[in-house]
Symmetry: C2
Subunit: 470 residues, 2 copies
């Protein structure tokens, strides 16, 4: 296993070989590499790669990986660069393989409800291609410029997990290239499979540390009926969150249930001037529903209203026009952007059993108060995934203290039966906290699995865990 000092540098010979494989204009060096040094994380560590290469086909990826593996040069696969954990930061330098030119939708098979795409296809492109065929890819991790390769690598989640699950639930098969250059195919156009180990799901969520994804088969579903959204204000967050199990036990399966608090709504108002309905209440649930007909929608929303009113809801707001509906979604989607205006010292993407959301939030805020830190938060009430933004307006917290506070919050999440990242991945910025969620025996096992794919440790080194760590 290579440690940092043993990785080799990219030599002029390597550059020549890369040019031979992909052509001169797809080998970027010098200043042109700056755009490949980070992702969209707010507080980010950046590293400029030695070279960026943009292959157009699987065979080229295989040749590049063979070259890198033989030369012991780190390789970092990169999609849309929209990640939030520094997963694409080339922390040991080396080669960034950008999949931006492998962006073809290879097939939309409407008999078997499967789309086959290259990894550089964006979510926006996929939505358009399948919806024009009367089919639907239901996952919505939020950023439609994200690529499918990145979505699969981080197992992206989003707002529709109650009904549809997460990215891995839609990945039927993959073509990947191993570090030595071998091309492996997994899965196929079927849901049922008991033929050997489930490599598809092992690769999904592996953050580019095992292999490079060069083709993805995605499960599609029929276009849903009417999509509606309900906004339900509660006197406090606790009542709002506690209504969720009651809604679900009533047999209703919404697409998603988001929670939001007044503090964030006020922030949107402050920075955008946008009027948000019901913004005088302390907390909301935003419930996204799909229904086959107006009648079905009215029946479901009536049941939800009854359940929520019994648990303290003071009103129910159903936007009457498409514009009002869009407005509500936009408010939700702007939270991340709005928060970049604050003095954010770091973010967390914890997941806990959904019954523990309030407990996690209240206790985290208590701990944060000791450090002059406030926590702005929003998240997915239906699936227990919270997005915490730690803000220190005074700017008086040290890096050491920041780490200490995050450690306390993650420990809290784990003690409640949760884990560190629900949908962003550990990447570079969260890996230091991984031992809080996984004991030594488990991380050692992951290291052995990693080496089964990547014996020289060249694949996206320094992410998730260190190979030579303890």
């Amino acid at each position: 296993v290579k440690t940092r000092s043993e990785y080799r540098k990219v030599t002029p010979e390597i550059i020549s070989s890369l040019v031979e494989i992909v052509g001169e204009k797809d080998v970027l060096t010098g200043d042109k590499c700056f755009n490949y040094s980070k992702d969209e994380e707010i507080v980010a560590e950046t590293h400029v790669p030695e070279v960026v290469v943009r292959p157009k086909d699987t065979a080229s990826v295989a040749r590049i990986l063979k070259l890198a593996d033989e030369g012991c040069i780190p390789v970092v696969p990169r999609g849309g660069g929209t990640g939030l954990s520094g997963g694409v930061v080339p922390v040991h330098g080396g080669i960034v393989i950008s999949l931006e030119k492998m962006n073809k939708i290879l097939e939309v098979d409407d008999d078997n409800f499967v789309a086959t795409v290259q990894p550089g296809v964006t979510l926006a492109e996929l939505y358009e291609a399948v919806e024009s065929r009367g089919l639907y890819y239901p996952l919505f991790p939020g950023e439609t410029n994200a690529t499918l390769g990145g979505n699969v690598s981080t197992n992206a989640g989003g707002m529709r997990a109650i009904k549809y699950g997460v990215t891995r639930n839609f990945v039927l098969g993959l073509e990947v290239v191993l570090p030595g250059g071998d091309i492996i195919r997994t899965g196929g156009k079927y849901v049922k499979c008991s033929t050997g180990y489930e490599l598809t799901q092992l690769l999904a969520g592996s953050e580019g540390t095992l292999a490079i994804i060069t083709e993805i088969m995605l499960r599609l579903v029929p276009l849903p009926g009417k999509r509606e959204v309900l906004c339900i204000p509660f006197p406090n967050l606790s009542d709002a969150i506690n209504a969720v199990p009651a809604i679900l036990k009533d047999g209703i399966i919404p697409v998603g249930i988001e929670w939001m608090e007044k503090s964030l709504i006020d922030l949107v108002k402050r920075f955008t001037g946008k009027e948000v309905p019901l913004r005088d209440y302390e907390a909301f649930l935003m419930i996204i529903l799909e229904a086959g007909s107006e009648e079905e929608f009215l029946s479901i929303s009536g049941r939800i209203e009854e359940t929520c009113r019994k648990r303290g809801a003071t009103d129910i707001f159903i936007p009457g026009t498409e514009r009002a509906k869009r407005n509500l979604f936009e408010v939700r989607e702007q939270f991340h952007t709005m928060l970049t205006h604050c003095n954010v010292i770091g973010t967390a993407d914890i997941v806990v059993p959904r019954s523990c959301i309030v407990q996690l939030l209240e206790k985290s805020r208590e701990k944060a108060a000791d450090y002059d830190v406030i926590i702005l938060a929003f998240g997915h009430a239906g699936d227990g995934n919270l997005h915490l933004y730690l803000v220190n307006e005074e700017g008086n917290i040290s890096q050491e203290q920041t780490k200490e506070l995050f450690k306390k919050i993650y420990e809290l999440g784990v003690s409640l039966g949760g884990t560190i990242s629900g949908e962003h991945g550990l990447g570079l910025s969260k890996k230091g906290y991984f031992p809080l969620a996984a004991d030594k025996e488990k991380i050692d096992l992951l290291r052995r699995v990693k080496l089964a794919f990547d014996p020289n440790g060249i694949m996206n080194p320094g992410k998730i865990f260190d190979l030579d760590g303890d």
Copy 2:
């Protein structure tokens, strides 16, 4: 890596140690081991284990595995023994660890919709426990005496995959013991997780070759509404199967769509005397639906009828009473038992993209005819999983020819974009065909993954693939 000759025998000292771990009455030797020599496969290879041990807790499993690993003795975990691929046959002797006494339902958490069970809990026990709490475990692989540990190990599928998927889609987390005795926990009470490699899904479907499952967290859903079944006759199988994509494209998501042919219906009639409705037609679709209300059911069944009549359906039969409905399900469930009365030379559990079912079946029958073999078949039209029973009434086919014919049929399935086993697993009896579906590079990768978990190769050796094969 150990080859067969290097595995050691169970010594009297090992027996004494096992007695010390689990107590005398849960260490079985001699004749008492006969019941642990096979599963429910029709044409089965049997091997009697040297010793059977029945631990009651995880700590005991860990001690047994440590002992076996140090002694280099093969270990075969066993659940209900209802498998169909010889996955629990102790082909190299050694220790069978029967999980039959680890049969507690540890928790049904109705806030988070999660059941936590030990591996020896049967499906029947799970159904009862969760339904009494108003929750539902929707998978129905067919045999309710199967244990959850076995279901997870083979990634059991069943008749409800269109709406619900397969076992792996319901496994949220596991506790497993590795060969050295380390206890590892994966996942938790959440759907979203991007924290390290997805070990839960790698272990699910690994047929006991990586670790022993000692605890399982299963996702539950709300109890569904009305369950109804439609039986729709078609003039031929091709028309029946071709109606399936049209039904699904209409936005309807049935629980399952089964197809069946006259030849099998006649067999049920012949062996049970049971009257089956509409048995004069060549082929049927049996469509299982869940609906929130009678109105919704009538609306959906009306749309299905219209779609099917356009594609040649001559009638639609909706059983009017619970008894008639039950009768229909029973006919379907008896196929496997009925077929044991025929001279079955082997079975296949192929999955193909659902648009290829007819093609696979017709071409397989052509190939079988050359060998005086007829193929009786039924299966899951919605998900492309077929159950083929090869019958040679004359008894004039050799073992070599049988293998040759199976090879041709599997090659056909793979060439259509399918694979060898949709839900039974490869176990002992299908592993010889695995190289038809996976190339050498892929199987080599699986071997390395196996060794990351089980460096001495003691876990259920000789299943899925051989460690020392080529």
